[in-house]
């Protein structure tokens, strides 16, 4: 799975992009988020922030959206363009 982090979140995590292999039992956005937060430290704080938005394959996702190793998942703060 390809993971992307943008803006303030990328800076907090010190990482813009990574590839991961999902462990058994991680099949939804909520489970992916919890798994990444379990890395602890800044990951736990940044990913448990309720304002974080998540997109799966470039479409906005919800906690129930399914994820597989073939997906691109992006984490980012509320948008501020225009």
């Amino acid at each position: 799975m390809k993971l992307l982090y943008f803006a303030r979140l990328r800076e907090r995590l010190g990482l813009g992009e990574e590839s991961v292999e999902l462990p058994p039992g991680v099949a939804s956005v909520a489970q992916l988020r919890a798994w990444l937060a379990s890395r602890g430290g800044e990951w736990a704080d940044a990913l448990q922030d309720r304002s974080v938005r998540i997109a799966v394959n470039q479409d906005m996702a919800t906690a129930d959206t399914p994820v597989t190793d073939a997906d691109e998942v992006a984490f980012f703060p509320p948008v501020t363009g225009g």
Binding site: F6, A7, R8, A74, F76, P78, T80, G81, G82
Partner: protein, 156 residues
């Protein structure tokens, strides 16, 4: 191309001319230009950097334009949004909507801009005298986008 995300500046005359070219049924063009201010939340802003999510940003704006075309009698629309380093007075974003009549053009232009502000993945980081900071999303922008959900569609 209806949607472009680019570092280069844009020429609104050329954009509007391209939008209208070969479409004599157009009777109205409404446009909006967002520009870089030198002040935000009480602090002076010397410069800003805009970041986006290549691919998703363009797709999300295309989807917003599709919604506008489905809702109003709109002939065509285009959006240009800059990314990278910008300074006060610089142009940031351009939205233009062409329609047979002005009512649809005005409404769709405002709708596209309100939705872009709250849905298209762009993030601003600004340079202030106390250092660089990420701009926070505004609840007023959420409210501006939300009001379109309750407004009755108009086909003018």
């Amino acid at each position: 191309m209806r949607v472009r995300v680019q570092t280069a500046d844009f020429d609104i005359s050329a954009e509007i001319a391209a939008l209208r070219a070969g479409k004599p049924g157009i009777g109205a063009v409404a446009s909006f230009i967002g520009v870089c201010r030198d002040i935000n939340d009480g602090d002076s802003v010397a410069a800003m950097t805009l970041e986006h999510y290549p691919g998703m940003t363009e797709r999300s704006i295309e989807a917003i334009i599709d919604q506008a075309i489905a809702r109003w009698q709109v002939t065509d629309a285009r959006v240009v949004h800059r990314v990278g380093d910008l300074r006060p007075l610089d142009q940031i974003v351009f939205v233009a909507v062409a329609a047979e009549h002005r009512g649809a053009a005005f409404a769709a232009c405002e709708f596209i801009m309100d939705y872009l502000k709250t849905q298209a993945p762009f993030w601003k980081r600004e340079q202030t005298p106390t250092g660089a900071r990420w701009v926070d999303a505004r609840t007023t922008d959420e409210a501006a986008a939300a009001r379109w959900a309750s407004d009755a569609p108009t086909g003018r």
